[in-house]
Symmetry: none
DNA sequence: GTGGTCTAGACCACG
DNA sequence: GTGGTCTAGACCACT
């Protein structure tokens, strides 16, 4: 199910983009699968249709979905471009985090331990 | 030098807080060292004094600096509390990043490589 | 074969018009050749019959096909009028493109190179 | 001046994006120059602020401008990324046009003539 | 004052 | 029915 968390500080449309992207990457949403229509999702989530439309627009720009006026919105069949972008961003973010940790006095060994702990969880 | 980047999406006052905190932790700003006055820094950076004042307020609240009425603002003697807080935050942020990377398909080995590369830079 | 691409931002009926026009001009569809009926094409392509009918209507208006009540739709004998229209449009579109390229700093020599490359392909 | 044409079929926000991009590339708008505020431009053009904001958002995503909440929107100092993207798009569009022209029976010589005519105009 | 987000309600072309 | 665009009006954090 697609959800949003009102306690989360990120804008609703960003949460939608992130959640749907993740579901598409993980295979929870399959290529060519139709997403709920803008209005449908809007009423079922109690959110304004404009906000949903904005999220769908972002997702289309990123290549996660494609929208056809008069038909609906669908998961893209080729997510490789998006997946690559995502990995780039995630690695860059990680590098920044590592750099910060280093400057805060966290040792390299400690970092490796954290990677191990976090990677092998659940 | 204290700098801000207007293209950075973080508010100016947050950038100031982050930069001054980092400089204090790294020793670039030494304990008891006096910071420029709000008005001084405001004109020298072309920033609204309210923004500087807000940043100084945050820094004081976090224990990075202390202010003496009529004398000015100074770097705190003991930054250990702040340093601990910082490490906690930085590690938590890292864990989130690692988790994201894992979900995006980045291997544990790759993560270790990144840690090494980034930690041993410059 | 007649195809449409749902990711294409042009309406389905426009894609049909363009594709069939192109096939008629290139000789892939020959004068007097009969097109599939609206219903036939609709089911074989999984498209709403209204959409096919709209495309056929456009094609008839442009003189690419003609319809005989009770018999079906056929490629026109004389496509010269349509061909001229098409050339006009294509040249105008090209002029706009050249103008844009010029304003973006693409050199005249580069344009000539592109024309050569593209014209001599396949 | 920033203008829109209501007879133009492109959405208003796209026209704004195109016009401002072009003005930035041509140097009519200079790096660091402040754009009219969203509300200001909205009233002066008789357009809803949301539409202006959408255009500014697109421009920021493309790297043509950067927006600072509480300060305003400004032309980027480095437009090279955007310029490269633009050239890529314009060349691709041109290739499609050339291909279409070729298929419509326009000769290579004719294309070269058109390039010459159009490039040396005004 | 600034930009960013969200809601509400409307109209359009397309299928 | 669908998505896309636009208007109107509101609230927020930041400067």
């Amino acid at each position: 199910m697609i959800t949003v968390d009102y306690k989360d500080k990120r804008p609703i449309y960003v949460q939608l983009v992130d959640n749907i992207s993740t579901m598409a990457l993980s295979g929870e949403l399959k290529p060519f699968e139709q997403l709920p229509s803008v209005r449908q999702l809007a009423v079922s989530m109690g959110i304004n249709p404009n906000t949903i439309a904005r999220a769908y627009g972002e997702l289309e720009r990123k290549g996660v979905i494609y929208s056809v006026a008069g038909k609906g919105s669908f998961i893209s069949n080729d997510l490789s471009v998006f997946a690559e972008e995502k990995i780039k961003k995630v690695e860059e973010k990680l590098r920044v985090g590592i750099s910060e940790a280093k400057n805060s006095g966290v040792s390299k060994e400690r970092l490796i331990v954290i990677v191990g702990e976090e990677y092998d969880r659940d």
